[in-house]
């Protein structure tokens, strides 16, 4: 009883607890995930790490050896896939070839809704959102890859799933289509207020879509959390290696001129970026790769736009490189240098130091 009350108040929208799956050669080991409603999580990890198996287990196609899955506080661990309210999208679309686009999209509604007109208007509405309303009479085989995937997205969203699972949905598409679909998908899932888990090999998907990211290896989730946290504070060598450590800040565009955008990342700490933004006061994520930060003992005159003064808080030797962490008025920057530069500059914990980085190396990512 107590546990139930606790669940109702504390449970997250999706909770995967200590999930283990035994596939003989391969195992999912003690997977834990948590998502709030309308969260968007991207799972990344090397090939064979079990991302697809994890998605299909959540969807109900593999029987877990132990652990539980809760969706909206309800234990769905042993429900059949059709009772879970979870949709899935695959890389190669898997549209039903014997049905046209309209019938594909309408497929999941037929069971829920009797009225033909209601079905038709929902299908047209979904198709409009994904800009495929002119293709409704076509057969899947006549569509381009991007059109097929938009059909698959419409087909899965129209049933208003509690959870949308996507297994590398854009991997088979070219770059332009990828960008276009990213925008459409983002809009559509927010219209339908869908909670999403998206498996991807592409870090751009993480930047442009995800609030949460999880890193998988060998059937285990090594780290899950808010994107900026995972990328700036990897808790595992493998995660650091895989994602590449970056300086990541939340920022707000406060001004700019001549192709330079000024972003405030903390009170009075303004960085300059050559990424352009036309609207002021836009929420952005700011990313600076550690190898792009130049260290010096003195301020120097140059065309480099960003020069900051800080205190060294950490010096760590990792393999052939040295990681240096610098505190600038409470904001922490990470840089990477060679051991010989370390000696030459005499960098020590507690020293004052100057950081410089070019405005082209300050990447802004839309955070709307």
């Amino acid at each position: 009883m107590l546990i139930r009350i606790w669940r109702e108040f504390e449970a997250m929208f999706l909770e995967v607890n200590n999930l283990s799956v035994d596939l003989g050669q391969f195992h999912l080991i003690d997977v834990n995930l948590g998502l709030e409603k309308e969260d968007y999580m991207v799972i990344i990890g090397p090939t064979g790490s079990g991302k697809s198996v994890l998605l299909e287990t959540i969807a109900g196609f593999y029987r877990p050896q132990s652990g539980r899955i809760f969706l909206e506080g309800k234990d769905i661990t042993h429900l059949t896939p059709e009772k879970r309210g979870i949709s899935i999208i695959y890389q190669d679309y898997v549209l039903f070839p014997h049905m046209n686009v309209f019938e594909n999209i309408a497929y999941g509604l037929k069971k829920r809704i009797e009225d033909k007109e209601v079905i038709e208007s929902s299908v047209v509405d979904a198709a409009k959102r994904l800009k495929i309303d002119h293709l409704l009479d076509r057969n899947p085989e006549t569509l381009s890859g991007g059109e097929k995937q938009r059909t698959a997205i419409a087909r899965s969203l129209i049933v208003e799933p509690n959870l949308l699972l996507m297994d590398e949905p854009f991997s088979a598409l070219d770059v332009n289509t990828h960008t276009y679909l990213t925008d459409l998908l983002k809009k559509a899932v927010s219209d339908y207020q869908t909670t999403c888990i998206h498996v991807s090999h592409n870090f751009n998907d993480v930047w442009s879509l995800a609030e949460q990211v999880a890193v998988m290896r060998d059937g285990e989730i090594l780290q899950q959390g808010v994107v900026a946290d995972v990328f700036s504070k990897p808790r595992h060598d493998f995660v650091a290696d895989f994602v590449g450590v970056r300086n990541i800040f939340q920022g707000e565009v406060v001004g700019g001129s001549k192709g330079i955008t000024d972003v405030e990342i903390d009170k009075n700490l303004i960085l300059h970026s050559s990424d352009t933004y036309n609207t002021d006061f836009k929420e952005v994520i700011v990313v600076i790769r550690p190898e792009n930060i130049i260290f010096s003992n003195q301020p120097f005159v140059s065309s480099i736009r960003n020069q900051l003064k800080g205190i060294v808080t950490e010096v760590v030797l990792i393999g052939p490189t040295v990681w240096v962490e610098v505190d600038v008025h409470g904001t922490s920057f990470k840089g990477i240098i060679t051991p010989s530069s370390l000696d030459m500059l005499g960098i020590k914990k507690g020293n004052e130091i100057y950081l410089s980085f070019k405005s082209v190396n300050v990447k802004l990512i839309d955070n709307d």
């Binding site: 898997v94 087909r155 899965s156």
Partner: protein, 263 residues
């Protein structure tokens, strides 16, 4: 046109041997039959009843093969289990043993005292020299066509297509009937027609289990033994025509039916 090299010419010469080896005797049979006598035979009730018996007993065998073979085919296409290889081999055994042996095997279990025949005789089914015996003999010899062809069809349907349908709210049985079966229908139909044609042609097992009532192949054999070659030809022509028409339908289905490839 593609240039003909020596290998192609040589292989074509070798390959055409089998082609003509099969074709010439069939054509020869068809042209050697006297149209008038064939017409007489069409009017002969014993010939017509033998032909009809062959066709509809084979149809019954095919329907039974479908009813039990399609579920088996789906199981084999989708699951790996211990002993799967054994199950597959058992299904194919009738293809590799002599049909007279099949007849003996069946007679042993379906005679009125046999392990199948005895309980079934309680409900009034007899097999020796009866139509159920003919059907059983045909089923035994031909059902693997349905299983193997359907299974191939099911294997060509991406299991993830079924998974998508499941997540969209269809139960597994409904998914089978709305997604998997329509997409593999061509294979199921082709397998059924092969099964049907093979069942019509069945002789060896039927001769042993159910010599009466007379099916077309048995009638041909009896005419040959009792009256000689000339008397058996017209029935043979009629039977082969039926089989060829069925076979033609299969070929048309194979070439004309829309296929859905995995993409």
């Amino acid at each position: 046109m593609r240039k003909l090299d020596h290998t192609t010419i040589f292989f074509a010469l070798m390959g055409s041997f089998l082609f003509f080896f099969v074709l010439i005797p069939i054509v020869n049979l068809m042209v050697s039959a006297n149209p008038g006598i064939i017409l007489n035979n069409i009017q002969d009730p014993s010939v017509m009843s033998a032909l009809f018996l062959s066709i509809y007993a084979a149809l019954a065998a095919t329907i039974i093969a479908l009813l039990f073979g399609v579920p088996l085919a789906y199981l084999l296409a989708r699951n790996d289990f211990w002993g799967k290889g054994f199950v597959e081999s058992v299904i194919d055994v009738p293809l590799v043993i002599p049909h007279t042996v099949s007849g003996i095997i069946l007679l042993l279990v379906f005679n009125p005292g046999g392990i199948f025949g005895q309980p079934l005789s309680q409900i009034g089914l007899t097999f020796s020299d009866a139509i159920p015996g003919i059907i059983v003999a045909m089923l035994f010899a031909s059902s693997s066509f349905v299983v193997n062809s359907s299974r191939e069809g099911f294997e060509s349907v991406d299991p993830r297509m079924e998974k998508v349908a499941r997540t969209l709210g269809s139960g597994s049985l409904k998914t089978f009937f709305i997604i998997t079966l329509p997409l593999s229908l061509r294979n199921v139909v082709v397998g059924s027609i092969m099964c049907w044609a093979r069942a019509i042609s069945e002789f060896g097992a039927i001769v042993i289990l159910a010599y009466y009532p007379t099916t077309a192949p048995v009638l041909i054999y009896r005419r040959f033994v009792d009256f000689g070659l000339q008397e058996s030809i017209p029935v043979a022509v009629l039977l082969i025509s039926v089989c060829l028409v069925l076979f033609l339908i299969v070929r048309l289905l194979i070439s004309g039916w829309k296929t859905y490839d995995k993409d």
